[in-house]
């Protein structure tokens, strides 16, 4: 059913209309919001950790969310809602631990986060090995990104997208200054400790929400901010809106492809984000050098 084109103007009073307005549109909007949130989180983590390789899952939030989702799947195997609740709880458990690292410098925080991520992936492997066979497919498809089971209402996600972008824009001048390093930022009047705490909380909360809605979708959070820096420069008043929109568009495109390429089956959307995004990024990198 994914291969059929529905003209919105003629989809009157039919099953097509229902599919368009109640399935396709909400899913497109979910993809847009989740992609935008992941790209924003990536941009924030890159500045927070002073490392261009940082991405939303770098501090282990995706691992703890996945572990939580699998616990949810074990408790109530048939409920997508319980799985999402598990992911959300897991993500926040991960964030709570990460917050203990917020006073450390960027490098030690990154190291701590990478170790935590390894810990969570071990916990996840343990849980998966205990999971009954019929749950495994569901768990794996969730872990590679799955927009078909989102339990979060679309307006909530769009509101989160708007709030996150607004908060980012309010902080954008401080974020620019942080690009000079913590000492320079502090010498220029930025309260670096407070900014780091805010940034960590904001980026983690946004990641938790994105993961709860759609599982773990790689690549968007790493590459979209870089792509936007290449296109629009490094200042956050351009990078953040461009990432929020660009990440959203990439995930919409990837999810539409994931849904239709081998319809009626679906590909994991995380595969498509990488397949679409990597060549575009490499092309830009190559043309700019």
């Amino acid at each position: 059913m994914g291969g059929q084109w529905i003209n919105p103007l003629h989809a009157v009073g039919s099953i097509n209309q229902t599919i368009l307005w109640e399935l396709r549109l909400p899913r497109l909007l979910t993809a847009f919001a989740v992609g935008g949130l992941l790209a924003l989180a990536g941009a924030w983590f890159q500045v927070l950790l002073g490392n261009p390789l940082a991405e939303p899952y770098v501090l282990g939030v995706a691992g703890s969310a996945s572990a939580g989702a699998v616990v949810g799947l074990m408790l109530v195997p048939e409920s997508a809602w319980v799985m999402s609740a598990g992911a959300f709880a897991g993500a926040w458990a991960g964030i709570a631990i990460v917050m203990f690292f917020s006073h450390l410098g960027a490098n030690r925080m990154l190291l701590g986060g990478v170790v935590l991520a390894a810990f969570w992936s071990a916990v996840l492997a343990l849980l998966l090995s205990l999971l009954p066979e019929q749950g495994l497919y569901r768990a794996f498809s969730w872990m590679m990104g799955d927009l078909s089971h989102s339990e979060l209402p679309v307006p909530v996600l769009l509101l989160a997208w708007t709030i996150a972008l607004t908060a980012g824009l309010i902080l954008s001048r401080s974020l620019d200054t942080l690009l000079l390093g913590e000492r320079h930022a502090e010498a220029l009047g930025v309260d670096v400790k407070q900014l780091r705490r805010r940034l960590l909380l904001l980026a983690s909360a946004v990641t938790a929400l994105a993961v709860t809605a759609a599982g773990t979708i790689g690549f968007v959070g790493l590459v979209i901010p870089h792509l936007m820096r290449l296109l629009f420069g490094s200042l956050h008043r351009s990078v953040l809106p461009a990432s929020a929109i660009g990440g959203g568009l990439l995930l919409m495109l990837a999810d539409s492809a994931a849904r239709t390429v081998i319809a009626p089956a679906e590909l994991p959307v995380g595969v498509l984000t990488a397949i679409i995004g990597v060549p575009v990024f490499l092309l830009l990198l190559w043309r700019r050098s």
Partner: protein
């Protein structure tokens, strides 16, 4: 901003001690900085020169009394202190592709005219559009000095302003410091080159790395025996100059 007349007290240090990672770097430093004055900090590697500047800039903690324009440094908010002190230190990272102009714009909310004119002093006008990552260390240092010149604070705290610079720009920045002093700027700067120090210092702070810190008039402290001991390296006097005795090192 118009700077005050020469001779107004800008900073007062009373019994200042600085520790780093549990090690006492210097203790009991008393010193006064006035407008239109340059104090040069000298000492061997690891003695605590940079830490002293960070402490004076309120970026790390120190014990003892540090007053900025008559008020304890601890009584300032970060923002207010930023209006009184400018700090120049390590080169900023280059990973995120900021351009030279963007870096300068972050130094101060300022009109592009003054960016052009300070960039001209440091010969970096042709580099304004370049990403910082494409510059050499010396060019990046010139960008930092231009950024500093945009900071209209009465006090400058400088950690090796001539590091990485070629000869022409070492002279250029030393002359810039002198011109700034003559305009009433109060400057404390770490320098490694003794000739440069002699060219600009009104007073000296000598830090020996064993906890000792000495403050005094430049003409008294520029003494070959004293500095030879401080650096554990032979210095000889050539006329009015103190120069390292490379032959004396065995």
């Amino acid at each position: 901003m118009r700077l005050q007349h020469t001779g107004t007290r800008c900073m007062k240090l009373a019994g200042v001690s600085v520790e780093r990672a549990g090690r006492l770097l210097l203790s009991g430093l008393d010193c006064t900085l006035h407008t239109g004055e340059i104090i040069v900090v000298l000492g061997p590697n690891g003695a605590g020169k940079s830490s002293l500047l960070l402490a004076l800039a309120g970026l790390i903690s120190a014990s003892g009394g540090i007053e900025v324009l008559g008020k304890p440094v601890s009584s300032y908010s970060r923002n207010d202190l930023t209006r009184q002190l400018a700090w120049q230190g390590e080169l900023p990272p280059t990973e995120f592709g900021l351009s030279v102009r963007q870096r300068l714009e972050l130094a101060a909310d300022t009109i592009s005219e003054s960016i052009e004119s300070t960039a001209a002093v440091m010969d970096i006008v042709p580099l304004l559009a370049c990403p910082l990552g494409e510059l050499s260390s010396g060019e990046r240092q010139r960008v930092e000095l231009s950024a500093l010149m945009l900071r209209e604070t009465p006090i400058w705290l400088l950690d090796e302003p001539t590091a990485h610079l070629d000869l022409k720009h070492q002279i250029c920045s030393i002359n810039m410091l002198k011109a700034q002093r003559d305009h009433g700027r109060a400057i404390i700067t770490v320098l490694h080159d003794i000739q440069q120090a002699m060219a600009v210092a009104d007073h000296l702070i000598l830090i020996d790395g064993l906890g000792g810190a000495e403050y005094g008039a430049a003409d008294v402290l520029f003494d070959s025996d004293r500095l030879s001991r401080l650096f554990d390296a032979p210095l000889v006097r050539h006329g009015t100059l103190l120069v390292p005795d490379y032959k004396g090192v065995t």
